[in-house]
């Protein structure tokens, strides 16, 4: 070997080990740095508090917060897996009456803000509500001392409400995984003597596991940062505790410290998710999923399948939507005024923009990670997703400070150099809100697209590369058409979530600016359910259209359709 050759080889081996600044890695780094800003701001406040009340918190309320948070998460995880996975399997692998309707209707509760569902069920199930009233009339009871009735404002109530509004995450992702599985796999299992149930348990379910885990991780992160429901039900979780310390006690350090405890929870979730995904071999090598044979359910099984699919829709959507509709009709004149259409417009525009941006960024990150296969990059991308677990109000504060600092620095510079004051460029604009949405919901895009890309075999990329396609072309021509469903899923999940987002919007918005959520909140915060029914219903409606769109898009993957693979 000549000297030149040796040094070349040397450079090459070193080059592969070194972190090469190619555009994908560099872009991912820049994005991560920007997106992580709010979280870093919170971390900074936690570790350098002005008045350290950690010992006090640890001795008094914190253990209780942690314990009830764990209970809540365990309950919601169990509930959403049970409902989400079984419903997804029923509608993809079995045939029974109404299946085609259930397919999309099962997603409907996603459009319901959990806190609104909480209000509705309190209204129905509390002492003065219709259910208990009817029971009292029938049995002649008079006061609460006369009988026992489950307390809706409790940990159990919170678990039920959150399960019923969050299970669609698990359902959607699991169903999407079942659909993207080549039917040949299931059929092969059947020809090998598996019953449909065994084929599900031994083949479909393990193959879908990454998606289920992602779904549950999303659900648990939503659970962690829910404020409206737990506050209303008086469940003492980390979120409610943090709000009290941060915004009532006005102790930034203490609030941030509780936020860090929550981040520990999230990191644990992310690690668990990754561990579950590591057992790979899930790539589907077939390029043509064909319409599998659904097996028809009869008799008792048919009835059970109907029940499993119908009950979540009833509880999570039909009943609350029905009550809201009746209120909306009754209180039409109170709720409809000239600010309403503008608020609806603002909501839809912001949510659509945020969804588009987040999906693009999430795709960029997920693909960069796939290209580089760098653990560092993957961990950075995961770190960028942490914003999902930070409650909206805290995220907002984490945005306010770096944005404010940036604006004031630019202003000082411009004043010094040119004598012009630029004032606030980012703070108090819808850019701040958009940034908050993207940071908050990037995890949805990244998680969904990473899982989607994970199901595309790397051989596809390799094949494209042998055809002299660059990474970008490989992405556009090969991966995009295959993960189109995942992209739509991510975009729609984010759109719907942004429509519902409240605390960050409240705090970051410009003057005289309302979204549907802030508009509804004016009334809802005073427990005036009737007055806010119309607004709440509009949020729901605006969420339903894309949700139906979503199931349509995903359904289209299903028939024997030519995938545009080069």
């Amino acid at each position: 070997m000549t000297g030149i050759q040796a040094s070349k080889a040397n450079a090459r081996t070193r080059g592969t080990r070194r972190f090469r600044p190619d555009p994908w890695a560099a872009g991912a780094l820049v994005i991560t740095a920007i997106v992580a800003l709010p979280v870093l701001t919170v971390l900074g406040a936690a570790f350098f508090p002005t008045e350290n009340i950690w010992p006090h918190l640890w001795e008094t309320v914190l253990p209780g917060y942690i314990f009830s948070t764990l209970e809540l998460m365990a309950g919601v995880a169990t509930g959403t897996i049970l409902i989400g996975v079984s419903a997804a399997w029923l509608v993809t692998a079995c045939d029974f009456p109404g299946r085609r309707i259930f397919e999309w209707a099962l997603v409907l509760p996603l459009a319901m803000p959990a806190y609104v569902v909480a209000y509705v069920y309190t209204d129905i199930l509390e002492f003065a509500g219709p259910v208990q009233g009817l029971l009292r009339d029938i049995f002649g009871w008079r006061t609460v001392q006369d009988y026992w009735f489950p307390e809706i404002r409790s940990l159990g109530g919170a678990i039920v409400v959150m399960t019923m509004t969050l299970y669609p995450y698990v359902y959607l992702l699991t169903r999407s995984a079942f659909l993207e599985q080549s039917s040949g796999v299931g059929e092969a299992a059947r020809t090998l003597g598996c019953s449909p149930w065994a084929a599900f348990r031994r083949v479909s379910l393990p193959m879908a596991r990454p998606s289920i885990v992602v779904g549950v991780a999303l659900v648990l992160m939503e659970t962690l940062n829910d404020f409206g429901t737990v506050d209303f039900f008086a469940v003492q979780t980390l979120t409610t505790g943090m709000f009290n310390v941060w915004l009532v006690m006005n102790n930034t350090g203490g609030g941030a410290q509780i936020a860090v405890v929550m981040l520990v929870f999230v990191i644990f979730l992310l690690v668990a998710e990754r561990a579950a995904r590591r057992k790979r071999g899930y790539h589907d090598t077939s390029t043509r999923p064909r319409l599998p044979v659904r097996f028809e359910l009869r008799g008792g099984r048919k009835a059970l399948a109907l029940l499993v699919c119908a009950v979540p829709i009833l509880i999570g959507f039909v009943i609350p939507a029905g009550l809201l509709t009746s209120y909306a009709i009754e209180f039409y004149d109170v709720s409809l005024n000239n600010r309403f259409p503008q608020a609806a417009f603002n909501s839809i525009l912001l949510a659509a923009l945020a969804a588009a941006i987040a999906v693009m960024i999430g795709l960029f990150l997920a693909y960069a990670v796939r290209l580089r296969k760098s653990t560092l990059l993957r961990n950075l991308a995961r770190f960028a997703s942490l914003g999902y677990a930070v409650p909206g109000a805290v995220l907002a504060i984490g945005i306010l400070f770096p944005f404010g600092a940036f604006d004031n620095a630019v202003d000082s510079f411009m004043r010094g150099a040119f004598g012009i004051s630029t004032g606030l460029i980012l703070s108090g604009t819808i850019i701040a809100i958009l940034f908050a949405y993207v940071v908050r919901f990037l995890a949805l895009a990244y998680g969904t697209l990473e899982a989607g890309l994970g199901r595309v075999t790397p051989h596809m990329d390799d094949a494209a590369r042998t055809l002299k396609h660059g990474p970008a072309q490989a992405l556009i021509k090969v991966n995009l058409p295959i993960i189109r469903g995942s992209m739509m899923t991510a975009g729609i999940l984010i759109f719907v979530d942004c429509m519902k987002e409240l605390p960050a919007t409240l705090l970051l918005r410009p003057f005289n600016f309302d979204t549907l959520a802030t508009y509804v909140y004016q009334f809802a915060s005073d427990e005036l359910l009737e007055e806010c029914a119309l607004g709440a219903l509009t949020i729901v409606a605006a969420g339903i259209i894309p949700v139906i769109l979503l199931t349509r898009v995903m359904g289209r993957n299903r028939p024997d359709q030519e995938l545009s693979v080069v």
């Binding site: 008079r142 209303f232 923009l353």
Partner: protein, 343 residues
């Protein structure tokens, strides 16, 4: 293609993304109070002066926003309830003193900052609501009584760390010190009928439902319930008690207004402050939200007048603000929000 999309987005976003800085005839308000409550006042102000009022309403975190925006903040005024939040803005160094003859004439010295850093606008009494059927008149007359073991399992309140309850406990500390306040809160916790939950009105509803006999709530909720068809029966189930603290009188909190340190529209902001303390605005306040006017020369609403006069507690608002963080610690130490369970 991607760039074209971005450009299109920028075009849509740009016109919406303007932050209004100082301009001719407007004043910018960060409000902790809901639009429905304050909008009639702002409308009246705009009608009278031609000055436009821009509002951001949020119940939490506006102080942080003010802090982050620093000297370029567009906000002129902060509009809030609870002495704790007024004090928080002052402590963060985000307020600037304002002194005018009109303001000092309208607002009694007890209800404004000595340096003019904040001015009270309305007063809110923290009362007891007692069951008409189950609690005889005169059976409970003081906040201290809430801890009396004879009310075991009879008391309902909202969460202990809510600003209204924190201020009440801070006033208690003002009279008795932290040790006695802790003992008192333990007693109240032991008397709770259920885990603290809901807002003040929900406690009165619980009286109607027979869950509890005594609830703590601000006075104006009675007026609000009487105006709402669905809530009228709740109101009808309860009597109002104006309790005393240390034999002095009823605990009062304020809603108030303050000018931010970097207010860009100072002149208009002062106009609005003076308007809010004027007889006209005080009259609107009194009738729209049934709060007690800060100006003793303005009559309260007929309903409030019908409840009669009552002595007010003597602990100063400064003391209450100072004792707030001690109060919150006591709430945590006692585990108040866990409800009547022992722990």
């Amino acid at each position: 293609m991607k760039y074209r999309l971005l450009a299109a987005m920028a075009l849509i976003v740009a016109p919406m993304a303007t932050t209004t800085a100082a301009s001719a005839a407007e004043v910018n308000v960060y409000s902790y109070r809901q639009g429905v409550l304050v909008q009639p006042l702002f409308d009246a102000f705009t009608k009278e002066t031609g000055v436009k009022v821009n509002v951001v309403f949020a119940k939490k975190g506006l102080i942080k926003r003010l802090q982050a925006e620093g000297r370029n903040s567009p906000a002129d005024l902060v509009f809030t309830v609870d002495i704790g939040r007024l004090a928080a803005v002052v402590n963060a160094g985000l307020a600037q003193p304002v002194k005018t003859a009109a303001l000092e004439k309208a607002v009694p010295a007890t209800y404004r900052d000595a340096k003019g850093l904040w001015y009270g606008l309305t007063l809110r009494a923290r009362l007891l609501y007692t069951s008409k059927d189950r609690v005889s008149k005169g059976a409970i007359t003081s906040y201290e009584d809430l801890a009396d073991p004879k009310w075991r399992g009879k008391v309902c309140t909202r969460k202990g760390d809510h600003a209204y309850n924190i201020a009440m406990l801070a006033a208690y500390i003002g009279h008795y010190g932290e040790a006695k306040a802790t003992a008192w809160l333990k007693g109240v916790k032991a008397n709770l009928a259920r885990k603290p939950q809901g807002n003040d009105r929900a406690q009165v509803k619980a009286i109607m439902e027979g869950v509890c006999d005594i609830a703590v709530g601000n006075h104006y909720y009675m007026a609000l319930m009487l105006k709402n068809d669905k809530q009228k029966p709740w109101a009808a189930s309860a009597n109002l008690v104006f309790p005393t603290l240390a034999g002095k009188g009823t605990h009062m909190n304020v809603s108030g207004v303050m000018m931010t340190k970097h207010a860009p529209n100072k002149a208009n902001a002062i106009k609005l402050m003076e308007f809010l303390t004027s007889k006209k605005a005080q009259g609107i306040y009194a009738n729209v939200n049934n709060e007690y006017p800060i100006d003793p020369n303005v009559k309260a609403s007929p309903l409030l007048e019908s409840w009669g006069k009552f002595p007010r507690d003597t602990v100063s608002l400064d003391t209450i603000a100072k004792n707030r963080s001690a109060a919150l610690k006591i709430v945590n130490t006692v585990g108040y929000n866990n409800g009547p369970v022992t722990n």
